[in-house]
Symmetry: C2
Subunit: 151 residues, 2 copies
């Protein structure tokens, strides 16, 4: 994302916003990653555990939608969590296409122990912005994000 582009004013303005948005998202998420790394979890692995903790057992399709990743990717991420005994997969009795993923005792214990520190990290990462600024940022980001869908 180079910065030295001379084009139409609306292009320059949009580029500028894009670069800053992308760098901010990278920087915050990168900082949060260091906690995951402590527990040898990738970002996506943590995301799966977090989703299961707060939303309960989910099938892989729902997990993929939640994490904005492809189906094939979830097969890999959930598989790696299963290998470590942090989640289990169970074929749904009513619809045999579905694999329901749920936390094991070990997985629940791990994510329960990690989550409060994660929440504190998130709050700390955003503490450079006032509450009003955080809300403005959220509102604009949401508007921007939603507008991309109907593109």
């Amino acid at each position: 994302m180079p910065t030295h582009y001379q084009g139409a004013p609306e292009e320059v303005r949009a580029f500028d916003a894009l670069v800053k948005l992308t760098r901010a998202a990278n920087a915050v998420n990168g900082r949060l990653d260091s906690l995951f790394a402590e527990a040898n979890l990738s970002t996506s692995q943590f995301g799966v555990l977090e989703a299961l903790l707060h939303l309960g057992p989910l099938c892989q399709k729902d997990l993929a939608a939640k994490l904005l990743k492809s189906d094939g990717n979830l097969t890999m991420v959930v598989g790696n969590l299963e290998k470590r005994g942090l989640v289990s997969r169970k074929r749904d009795a009513a619809d045999k296409r579905l694999l329901v993923v749920q936390l094991t005792v070990a997985g629940r214990k791990l994510i329960r122990g990690l989550f409060p520190r994660h929440a504190a990290n998130v709050a700390k990462a955003f503490s450079c912005l006032t509450p009003a600024e955080q809300e403005t940022l959220g509102k604009l980001a949401k508007k921007l994000g939603l507008a991309q869908a109907g593109a």
Copy 2:
């Protein structure tokens, strides 16, 4: 990034902003990717070509810093571009540790043809926000991004 977390108000507020920020960045960049895919370029490959077009020849270290990726990653990304004849690597005479990466004629032609459409896509992606909103988003994102560095 689940949304159903009940915690301290500042944690909930920060989580909300984080989810929206991350989704927005994903959505915009995902939309931009479709142009790259047309030319069989990955996001990072496009980023390298774009940087070389606007900044001139760069060594891999500088490219890594520009794209916020690791050194090892750049070896791979530049290597794949070189295989396709879009960039060339040349050992720097003055400092033999450096590999200077530059566009080939084919690479320059490709990125030159693609870039105007990319710039138009970026402007279109942000057109749901007013100029003032884009600037506010950029300002807040920049503040947030910079604050993570000294963490």
